[in-house]
């Protein structure tokens, strides 16, 4: 299981700033309402995003793709405001697009060109001089792992290579924000892991903002520290990964082997409740019943950990895993959508 701590977003080095007057802007949306014909697809959506990795989730037909098109300025806006990098997308969309990168889900390759030719071409279309675009194309293709194949014609690429190529063409002009639509679609496990690592590196270490629209919660949990949830055109909720909780009732993940019955019985004597989740045993402890758990600001989860360790030592129960169960974005999402 890949483990991702809280993100540290470093300030990038000297960087071309594509915002309207050189300030640091993010994405601001307010009261966005849009209908293709008569039925509104987006209803009063509003949020403000700073640089970071944000997951965009929602069932089919919730308006995710439309929202991304609004952020790219591909939609005539009559109600509401969308401002990206300080530019008003209703009137100044083209200036903003110089600082945005888009990775579509389907297709997205131009047959007949080599990989490096395609990426350089896209760079030129984004306003780079021809030589800069070609230099950047080579660099970016090395970064995404297509160095050996970059001279081959891109219609010969496998699915994994095409996904990397699409990521490269989204990066060639050094955008401030990346919009990714199902970036791991069709990839095998190795390809998935490596694309997610690239995206994580870009969002956490290189100072790009990333909006990841996907159906795979595993991808979101691997990369994002925040999610936006849409349903039927409305912004249902916004969630961050929670790293600290100071409540009395805590859930711990336990996995191990040995004298299970005795282990469970001893914990039950401490007032624990149990639930099974796949291989994991979920132990809910009320920390207020444990000595030394109460601190000045709430309850300390390590008291629960120590209590379980004591029982394990006493019963010679071998522990493979023991930790406070982290809040899972997946569970939050289900709870929200099914409500």
């Amino acid at each position: 299981m890949l483990r991702f701590p809280a993100p540290k977003l470093e300030e990038p080095a000297i960087k071309v700033n594509r915002s309207r007057d050189g300030q640091q802007y993010g994405i601001q949306v307010s009261a966005l309402t849009f209908a293709y014909v008569t039925e509104p697809v987006l209803k009063g959506v509003g949020f403000v995003l700073e640089k970071g990795a944000i997951g965009l989730l929602g069932p089919n037909g919730s308006g995710k793709t439309t929202l991304l098109r609004c952020l790219l300025g591909q939609v005539p806006l009559s109600r509401g405001e969308v401002s990206v990098l300080g530019w008003d997308m209703a009137t100044q969309a083209r200036s903003a697009r110089a600082g945005l990168g888009w990775m579509p889900e389907r297709g997205g390759v131009i047959p007949g060109m080599s990989g490096v030719g395609l990426v350089a071409y896209m760079g030129e279309l984004s306003g780079m001089p021809a030589r800069d675009a070609m230099q950047r194309a080579h660099e970016v293709l090395h970064y995404v792992g297509l160095a050996d194949e970059r001279y081959r014609s891109c219609q010969d690429y496998s699915q994994g290579m095409k996904q990397r190529l699409k990521l490269a063409q989204a990066l060639v002009h050094d955008p401030e924000w990346l919009f990714l639509d199902e970036p791991t679609s069709g990839l095998d496990p190795r390809g998935r892991v490596s694309i997610l690592e690239l995206i994580r590196d870009l969002a956490w270490n290189k100072g790009l903002g990333v909006i990841l629209s996907t159906h795979l919660l595993a991808d979101v949990e691997a990369v994002c520290h925040e999610i936006l949830v849409l349903r039927s055109g409305e912004l249902l909720a916004r969630q961050s990964v929670d790293t600290h909780a100071r409540q009395a009732k805590q859930v711990f993940e336990v996995e191990g082997f040995g004298n299970e019955d005795a282990f469970v019985a001893d914990l039950r004597a401490l007032g624990a409740h149990f639930e099974q989740d796949g291989r994991l045993l979920l132990v809910t402890l009320d920390l207020s019943r444990l000595p030394g758990a109460h601190t000045g600001a709430g309850f300390d989860a390590t008291a629960g950990i120590n209590a379980i360790l004591q029982v394990a030592a006493a019963r010679e129960y071998a522990l493979r895993r023991l930790r406070r169960r982290p809040v899972s974005l997946a569970e939050e999402f289900y709870r929200m959508v099914e409500a």
Binding site: R69, Q74, R94, G108, M113, L125, M128
Partner: protein, 284 residues
């Protein structure tokens, strides 16, 4: 000595000038196909009539008017002669445009390439203009370039007999003709391309339009119904061109009618293009 960042680095602009988007599209559209050898050879083959004409012109300018009787319009260096030459190139134009132009928009539609284009800072005019310029570029390679070279050649071998009219006016007329006719033809072809998703189908429609209408028009003329030549697609361009070149029209159709028809279907092509592409650029 520092060790530099080996991963993703930010772009340090060099300060060179960037080209506008339509020029980037046009340049790439012309240079990419030319990398294929057989296309290059096809273009060279399309210059063969020009070389033959050059031979006749040389013979006429050196040997005198006897050659006129044998060569007919091949030897003519009047504006009319060059218009006939352009008319003679129409088959090469048809083939070259089919090969280079049919897939320009249809491939983008099939491979979802348009969403890549329109995530860039460019608009409908850049996209259509750039693609149209691509086709005009190939059109001129087969028409304008040989004509200019012929004029230069004729002037060089007999400067007194030819004069400024040949060196300057004819190339200028040809330039105007090629740009206008080329632009109109390319917009029609692009309109077809925007309606299909496979370049093969677009080539079929293009063949029906060009060769089909020419054949039917020719049959009609043979049967005495010359007025029906108004349906001959390529013919209308040459017919309207007779106004520019000061030559008598070849078809039994008024050149002004030809001009009106050309304008009409150009506007129609623009309407189709806008209708097909705008929903990708700006969803409505």
């Amino acid at each position: 000595m520092p060790v530099y960042e080996r991963g993703y680095t930010h772009w340090q602009p060099s300060g060179r000038r960037a080209s506008p988007a339509w020029l980037v599209i046009a340049r790439r559209g012309v240079t990419e196909p030319l990398k294929r050898r057989w296309l290059f050879l096809l273009i060279l083959a399309s210059w063969v009539p020009a070389i033959i004409k050059g031979g006749f012109v040389y013979a006429k300018l050196k040997a005198g008017n006897m050659v006129d009787l044998l060569g007919g319009s091949w030897t003519s260096i009047d504006p009319e002669g060059f218009l006939r030459f352009l008319e003679g190139q129409r088959f090469f134009v048809f083939v070259l445009l089919a090969i280079t132009g049919a897939g320009l928009i249809s491939t983008d539609r099939r491979e979802n390439g348009m969403s890549l284009y329109f995530s860039r800072p460019l608009g409908l005019l850049d996209y259509i203009g750039g693609k149209a310029m691509t086709i005009v570029g190939f059109y001129c390679l087969v028409t304008l370039l040989p004509v200019c070279l012929l004029c230069l050649f004729a002037y060089l071998i007999a400067p007194d007999a030819t004069g400024m009219d040949l060196l300057l006016m004819t190339p200028l007329r040809t330039l105007a003709y090629c740009l206008l006719a080329g632009a109109s033809t390319s917009l029609v072809l692009l309109a077809f391309s925007s309606l299909g998703t496979r370049s093969v189908f677009v080539m079929v429609w293009w063949t029906v339009l060009v060769q089909g209408t020419e054949t039917i028009g020719g049959i009609a003329e043979g049967l005495g119904r010359g007025g029906l030549q108004a349906m001959n697609f390529m013919g209308q361009y040459h017919n309207a061109g007779s106004l520019l070149f000061g030559a008598p029209p070849r078809l039994e159709v008024s050149p002004w009618l030809s001009l009106a028809l050309v304008l009409g279907w150009t506007v129609l092509a623009l309407w189709v293009l806008r209708r097909q592409i705008r929903p990708v650029e700006v969803v409505s």
